[in-house]
């Protein structure tokens, strides 16, 4: 067995079916969608009238106009990404650090924070819908506070913030668990050594723990960013289908309500490209120290590999 697996040709043979299957169900559809996005409309819809139209859909999609909601949708998704990166992830990290230090009831808190991840997004949206349409207005009324005009989910200025909260809340536990798991793998002797050297609390977190879970932070950032650009389910349910501008919602409406299949394909490709660009950017920011020009591995990295 060992001999077989050390032969690169046999590895290739074993991996080939998976590669072919993956290519057929993932890579091929992406390129097919790309091709569709370059047509005036797909042949299944208009038959022989289908023709190559180049970047026409992309230009239409990105040209600002009063009723072109796509640029605004991209802006909203970037805002959501920023909220994820600067609010959701730091919050997850804070909880993970607190839990990793072994407080009383560690397991209970860990499981409690993870519960929303297990619940279906639709249930989470309905739950928050009840909060926004029932509990919160009652609370505001009892405190004599002004409820936003048209309600929390109807007000043009506030609905974006309120619709983001459920998904931000839901995935805090997910990122927390990933970071918590990574923190728990830091060898105890390193932490002990740091304690002997006088590090504790914030110093321990910023100098030892966070640098050592950098690879996991990168994973969390990638998931968070890609999830932001693809965000669909929670706003869809919470805001009654498409009352909010987000790229994935816009794509769905163009595809299934407006029946502009090629135009929707262009939006789909835009979302894929956006995810790829940001993943590449993230890889560049988090590239290995040794890959940076003129830099040598630093202390933290050396320790991690010990």
């Amino acid at each position: 067995m060992k001999r077989v697996l050390s032969n690169k040709w046999s590895i290739m043979v074993f991996v080939l079916p998976t590669v072919l299957f993956f290519t057929y169900i993932v890579i091929f559809p992406i390129f097919k969608t790309l091709w569709y996005s370059l047509l005036n409309e797909i042949p299944a819809k208009i038959g022989d009238a289908s023709r190559f139209s180049g970047l026409e859909h992309y230009i239409t999609m990105l040209t600002p106009g009063r009723r072109n909601r796509f640029p605004g949708a991209v802006g909203n998704s970037l805002l959501y990404a920023a909220l994820s990166v600067f609010i959701q992830l730091p919050f997850s990290l804070l909880i993970a650090l607190l839990l990793a230090n072994g407080p009383k009831g560690e397991r209970f808190y860990r499981n409690t924070f993870f519960v929303p991840v297990v619940i279906s997004s639709v249930v989470v949206s309905l739950l928050w819908g009840r909060i926004y349409k029932g509990l919160l207005p009652q609370l505001f009324e009892s405190l004599s506070w002004q409820i936003p005009k048209n309600g929390f989910l109807g007000n043009a200025n506030t609905k974006i913030w309120f619709s983001f909260i459920p998904s931000l809340w839901q995935y805090v536990g997910y990122h927390m668990l990933l970071m918590y798991g990574a923190l728990k793998t830091i060898p105890g002797d390193i932490l002990e050594a740091a304690t002997v050297d006088g590090a504790s609390g914030a110093k321990m977190a910023f100098r030892i723990q966070i640098p050592m879970i950098k690879p996991m932070l990168k994973v969390c950032l990638s998931f968070s960013l890609i999830g932001s650009f693809k965000l669909f389910d929670t706003p869809w349910v919470l805001l009654e289908r498409a009352n909010m501008d987000l790229p994935a919602l816009s794509m769905y409406v163009e595809m299934f309500s407006n029946h502009k299949y090629s135009y929707a394909s262009a939006q789909a490709i835009f979302i894929v490209a956006e995810c790829l660009v940001f993943t590449a950017l993230l890889n560049w920011v988090f590239r290995e120290e040794s890959e940076k020009p003129g830099k040598k591995p630093r202390f933290g990295k050396g320790l991690a590999r010990k």
């Binding site: 009063r66 926004y132 207005p137 409820i147 048209n150 989910l153 043009a156 009352n243 029946h259 502009k260």
Partner: protein
């Protein structure tokens, strides 16, 4: 013993195989229906219709899949792309139907549709289902929207049921002063807002000009004083606080709850809403014509046969599918009317036990015309636009003038 058992099993399998390929078995047709929820007014009549079909046509077996209305619309569009629509299925008329007709997914019914069958339909029933002289759907209901007034609340606050636009504004003001939300509206779903704007537009603009715009006739335009006046009238209702403060956060079904609870006095809704009223509410509610504006269009109605059953162009059993399609449409029309879920689209002897539905049926029969709602008559992104733009007006992010300009863009394509 084992051998005998194995032999018996093999024999049973072989027999079942031959049965599957044998001639004379029932033709199996796939059917897609909406009304998946038990609370839908049309669900019970549809179940009755299916039971009647089973009894009348043992040679055809229907395999029904139930969907929620919006979910089916999306699903149907997707299935059409891969030529895998069910044999017989529920679908909207007008522009929504045209989407599938234009892509060749729906079977024209003219080959099977005899004059005798046509004669059983009410007059003009096929207008929204006919394209280029070919019929693509059979309606199971005739639709219209009207103003549902809770007489108990009108009596309690001493307000007169409005017959004119000024009386409507007075009623709105009176209820607001009494701390009562005057009109129910689930603006989150958009189309309920279109119900209001469509009927207001009909009163100010008239059937002919509205029809020209909704069917994109040459020379039609939204940039007229009448259209601006209509949308300004809608804006006046918003400004007077006619709708719930959180109307845009509410779905259609959420908006109906306070009406069912007797907390809101008025609601512009489709005729099917009367089927959802409890027996107690049916005695309190009066369905009336939307208030008159005095421009000569006061007896015109929004609606018409707007929903029905169609047949996939790719069905393997077109003749049987037509039998099923006609049966479902005709019997659902009767059964739906009988229990007050809808107005009949086929001539019928059936009596309706719902007093509110009877009021509507009587008034619509005496109406001058029926015009399909804008979001149903228009198709694709035009239909989306008319929903988005009224949402924006309701949200205060667009003005009546901007609404007219935005809608005018549908002619530039």
């Amino acid at each position: 013993m084992k051998k005998i058992l194995a032999l018996a099993l093999a024999l049973a399998m072989a027999l079942s195989l031959t049965a599957a390929f044998a001639d004379g078995g029932p033709v199996v047709l796939k059917v897609a229906s909406i009304w998946s929820a038990e609370t839908e007014a049309n669900r019970a009549p549809m179940l009755k219709t299916l039971a009647e079909f089973e009894e009348a046509h043992p040679e055809i077996k229907l395999e029904v899949e139930w969907y929620e209305a919006n979910a089916w619309k999306d699903q149907g569009e997707t299935l059409a792309l891969s030529d895998s629509l069910p044999d017989v299925f529920y679908w909207n008329a007008g522009g929504v139907l045209w989407n599938l007709v234009s892509s060749g997914d729906i079977l024209p019914l003219d080959e099977y549709l005899t004059d005798e069958i046509k004669g059983q339909l009410i007059g003009g029933a096929l207008a929204n289902m006919t394209f280029d002289g070919k019929v693509y759907q059979l309606p199971y209901t005739n639709a219209c929207s009207c103003l549902y007034c809770n007489t108990e609340l009108f009596d309690k606050y001493g307000v007169k049921i409005p017959e004119t636009w000024d009386e409507l504004l007075e009623a709105v003001k009176a209820f607001r002063e009494a701390g009562v939300v005057p009109m129910a509206l689930g603006g989150g779903d958009k189309w309920p807002t279109n119900m209001y704007t469509d009927i207001i537009a009909l009163r100010f603009v008239g059937d002919e000009a509205c029809r020209a715009c909704y069917y994109k006739t040459e020379g039609a335009t939204f940039l007229t004083d009448d259209w601006k006046e209509a949308m300004t009238a809608f804006q006046t209702l918003i400004d007077l606080g006619a709708f719930p403060d959180d109307a845009l956060s509410l779905t259609r079904d959420e908006s109906e709850v306070p009406y069912f609870n007797g907390e809101i006095p008025m609601y512009v809704h489709g005729q099917w809403f009367s089927g959802s009223l409890s027996a107690e509410m049916q005695n309190k509610v009066k369905a009336v014509k939307f208030p008159a504006v005095g421009k000569g269009y006061d007896n015109q109605w929004m609606g018409g046969p707007a929903e029905g059953f169609s047949i996939s162009a790719h069905t393997e059993h077109p003749a049987e599918a037509f039998v099923a399609c006609q049966f479902l449409a005709q019997h659902q029309s009767d059964n739906g009317f009988e229990c007050g879920a809808g107005l009949p689209a086929w001539k019928t002897e059936v009596q309706c036990g719902n007093p509110v539905m009877n009021q509507i049926a009587e008034q619509v029969a005496a109406g001058d015309s029926l015009l399909l709602w804008g979001n149903t008559a228009l198709s694709g992104d035009d239909a989306t636009l008319i929903g988005d733009t009224v949402y924006d007006v309701l949200a205060g992010t667009s003005t009546p003038e901007q609404w007219c300009e935005d809608m005018e863009t549908i002619f530039g394509k």
